[in-house]
């Protein structure tokens, strides 16, 4: 039986976690919150931003603050699936007998940073994505379950698209959120220079949450009370991204080829629950749904040729959906 006191304790720990991360990461409040939401939901995130914005630092700091095992995979065109999931290698024991032994890849971690995932070949990408979906890997007929919590944070570089292998839409849909990292403001940049201008790696990060506590919070968030009107609101938002929907705004009808999938609606509700938890509420609110609307849907809208040709941003389309669909 969960008590309010316990809920408040866990919420307080997450506030400490946020504070700990913010002690390292300058700015990016929304990004930190969305990353934590993904963590609370046990889902995988896609971070998109130019190099040098602190994506790796963010994930590493998060791992340290949570006391979780962290792995970083730099995706390159010659990266093989075995480089990610591991491979069977021939080893010789003390008696001289040789046998195959599975050498676990970097995916066997709690937090996996898949850096520039679009630079690897689709075969390698799909190996990672399969692991993300199944939360287990199968090598030579033997299945290895990944340890919970398991979370992949993949990054993409929106520039330098030459020689890259953009993720297929179906693969992208498996990411819970797509988080866009903006360039820091002038003040934030100055603060970055102040804190990290000495050339040190980063200041020590204190662990504020154990793995068990994280799993407890994940379970708690999964059953966070959410009223039916909120579910209806989330469904209407997602449904309005379909060009065939009667509620679809003009931009959707004009520039969208495929709208968001039902997985997007799930992401909305789960993300809203986690957002409510982080906000210190005891129930999900409309505001929570609205807070996770963009990261939940932005990578799930597929523009048509006209939309791409005219360069209509997905954010603009979603903005119209957000404004047109009101909670009822």
């Amino acid at each position: 039986m969960i008590t309010e006191k316990r809920i408040r304790e866990l919420q307080e720990k997450f506030h400490e976690l946020i504070a700990e991360i913010r002690s390292v990461i300058i700015g990016h409040e929304e990004v930190i919150k969305h990353v934590l939401i993904g963590l609370l939901c046990g889902q995988h995130l896609l971070l998109e931003g130019v190099p040098g914005l602190g994506k790796t630092l963010l994930v590493r700091t998060l791992g340290r603050a949570l006391g979780l095992k962290f792995a970083r995979i730099q995706f390159t065109p010659d990266l093989m699936p075995a480089d990610i999931i591991g491979t069977r290698i021939l080893v010789e024991d003390e008696s001289g007998r040789r046998h195959f032994e599975f050498a676990r890849g970097p995916v066997f971690a709690h937090l996996v940073l898949a850096d520039e995932i679009n630079r690897a070949t689709p075969k390698t990408q799909s190996a990672l994505l399969e692991a993300m979906q199944e939360r287990s890997i199968t090598v030579s007929g033997e299945t290895y379950k990944l340890e919970e919590p398991f979370m992949v944070l993949a990054t993409q570089n929106p520039i330098e698209m030459e020689g890259t292998y953009p993720l297929p839409e179906a693969q992208i849909d498996r990411f819970f959120f797509k988080i866009l990292l903006r360039y820091p403001s002038l003040g934030e940049l100055e603060e970055i220079l102040r804190r990290h201008g000495g050339g040190q790696e980063s200041q020590a990060v204190r662990q504020v949450l154990t793995r068990e506590e994280l799993l407890e919070v994940q379970q708690l968030v999964a059953q966070w009370p959410t009223a039916s009107p909120l579910r209806r609101y989330a469904a209407r938002l997602v449904y309005a991204t379909q060009p065939s929907s009667p509620d679809a705004p003009e931009l959707v009808k004009k520039y969208v080829e495929y709208g968001a999938s039902p997985r997007a609606a799930l992401a909305l509700i789960w993300g809203a629950k986690a957002h409510a938890f982080l906000s210190g509420e005891l129930n999900t609110r409309i505001a929570d749904i609205q807070a996770v609307f963009y990261p939940s849907l932005i990578h799930r809208i597929i523009r048509n040729f006209r939309g791409e040709a005219e360069g209509i941003p997905v954010e603009q389309i979603l903005q119209q959906v957000y404004e047109q669909i009101q909670p009822t």
Binding site: L282, N283, T328
Partner: protein, 525 residues
């Protein structure tokens, strides 16, 4: 401090109130709109006036009914609480709590959320305010109600205006006048004819007594005074027999109509005797007009009958008024004709009585005048016996003749049939032959006739009055005597019979037979 249940109940009550109010405003908007249109129609004269109480009560009932329907309409509590959450900015706690209370979701959170809600201070009216549309709709309802009140006041003022200016009232006022006139005539016709006939009989008896006295002594002052008195009484009876004058209100619009009224002169004034002829003419015209209507009514459709009445209104307004009144009072054409026939019978009785009265007047005037030659009396234009001449008064034969003449008025026509040999038609003779003195002595005098009639009658019985009448005309003549008397008594007796026929409970078929008999006598005259 509010518990969740208290909040929910107050919100539901507020929601029902808003629902009822909105529905009532819509209903009243429609009903007041219809009322305003109906009142506008009343103002323009398209249809009748709509009473204030009727439309006020009607609209109130509509509003109350609509409010009740709105109040009882089912409520979506989830939607209601979600809306309250949005209005109160309670972060969807109410709706979440409600669903948790229904058993949906993790029940561990139920007490936690309830504790949060206990710190909430709420106002249901703030959560579910009256929308501006509702307010404007109520404003329109109030405006429409005021318009309806104004229109009602306008219609009532218009009615007052119409009442004060009868010249503008048009057909309605004329119809009202006609109805009043018809009622007046019908009331006049209700005066019992039998009473008038009895009075005339009494006058005749006294006249004969006075004439007998004058025959003995032409300068008898008591007899002359009695004759003067009888003259005054006859004038009074003449006024009673005359149709009533239209009232002053009715009289004014008739001034422009030629021959429109039965009589001339202002109401209440005594009718001068010289106007009797015009009154008789008017009464005759009324009778003829109604008879014409009665005859044509059988073959005319209701529309054609209305046209006929319109034409009649120009020539004889009283006849038109009576016919129109009867038409409105009856349900079927047959009933209308029956009532009209009844009126006709009464009018004929009046006419007959009037003729008798005029005869009496002439006789009385003759009695009061100095003696004239016998020839003048015989050649009276009416054919009725006039007063005795001085020569007759002075001679015993004349005295006997006068006595017999008095008796003959009560005896009727059969005596005349015996007198005129070979003449079988009743009432055709004049009764001028000299009377045999012996036979005259055998005749009963008037007092004897009266005594005989009293013996035959049962006091208070109309049937007995009729029997007396027949006894008089059939039994009291001396056998084998000559009959020098005039036929005038038949006229008097016929009027009495007709009046009695109207009142006695005689079967219809017998009534017609009796009436036809007396009508045949009247025509032969």
């Amino acid at each position: 401090m509010h518990s969740f249940e208290t909040i929910r109940v107050s919100l539901e009550r507020r929601k029902r109130l808003v629902q009822g109010s909105a529905l009532a405003s819509w209903a009243l908007l429609g009903s007041f709109g219809i009322t305003a249109l109906m009142l506008l129609g009343s103002t323009l004269g398209i249809w009748g006036a709509l009473p204030l109480s009727a439309w006020v009560i009607g609209n109130l009932l509509v509003g109350a009914l609509a409010f009740m329907v709105g109040w009882l309409r089912p409520i979506n509590t989830i939607e209601l609480l979600f809306r309250a959450d949005r209005q109160w900015r309670t972060n969807e706690r109410l709706v979440t709590l409600y669903e948790l209370s229904l058993g949906y979701g993790p029940q561990e959170f139920l007490p936690l959320l309830e504790r949060q809600l206990n710190r909430l201070s709420v106002n249901a009216a703030q959560a579910l305010p009256c929308t501006s549309r509702d307010k404007w709709r109520w404003v329109v309802v109030v405006i429409l109600a005021l318009v309806c009140v104004s229109l009602t006041s306008f219609v009532q003022l218009g009615a007052l205006f119409v009442r004060t200016e009868p010249d503008r009232s048009g057909a309605t006022a004329q119809a009202s006048r006609e109805s009043q006139r018809a009622s007046q005539l019908l009331e006049w016709l209700q005066t019992p004819s039998a009473e008038l006939a009895q009075k005339l009989l009494s006058v005749r008896e006294r006249l004969e007594q006075a004439r007998a006295a004058l025959a003995l002594n032409p300068n008898d002052p008591r007899a002359r005074a009695a004759l003067q008195q009888l003259h005054a009484e006859l004038i009074q009876e003449q006024q009673r027999l005359a149709p009533p004058l239209p009232s002053a209100e009715e009289e004014q619009p008739k001034r422009s109509r030629p021959e429109s009224s039965l009589v001339e002169g202002s109401p209440g004034e005594p009718r001068p005797p010289q106007r009797g002829t015009s009154e008789a003419l008017a009464l005759n015209q009324l009778l003829q007009s109604l008879r014409s209507v009665s005859e044509q009514a059988q073959s005319l459709s209701p529309e054609e009958l209305q046209k006929l009445l319109e034409q009649l209104r120009e020539t004889n307004p009283d006849a038109a008024a009576l016919a129109e009144h009867l038409l409105q009072m009856t349900q079927t054409p047959e009933e209308f004709r029956e009532r009209l026939e009844e009126i006709l019978r009464k009018l004929e009785a009046r006419q007959a009585l009037r003729e008798q009265l005029e005869n009496l007047q002439r006789e009385l005037e003759s009695a009061l005048m100095p003696s004239e030659p016998q020839v003048e009396r015989e050649e009276s234009p009416t054919g009725f016996p006039s007063a005795m001449t001085p020569r007759e008064e002075s001679s015993p034969q004349a005295q006997q003749e006068g006595q017999q003449g008095l008796a003959s008025e009560a005896h009727g026509i059969q005596s005349q049939e015996r007198q005129e040999e070979g003449q079988t038609s009743a009432g055709a003779g004049r009764g001028t032959a000299p009377l045999d003195p012996e036979a005259a002595q055998d005749l009963p005098d008037l007092s004897q006739l009266r005594e005989r009639s009293r013996e035959l009658s049962v006091p208070g019985s109309q049937q007995d009055d009729l029997e007396i009448l027949f006894e008089i005309v059939t039994m009291e003549l001396p056998q084998g005597s000559e009959t020098p008397w005039s036929t005038t008594p038949v006229q008097i007796d016929y009027g009495k019979v007709e009046a009695l026929l109207d009142m006695l409970e005689i079967p219809e078929e017998l009534r017609d037979a009796v009436r036809q008999y007396f009508l045949s006598l009247s025509r032969q005259r």
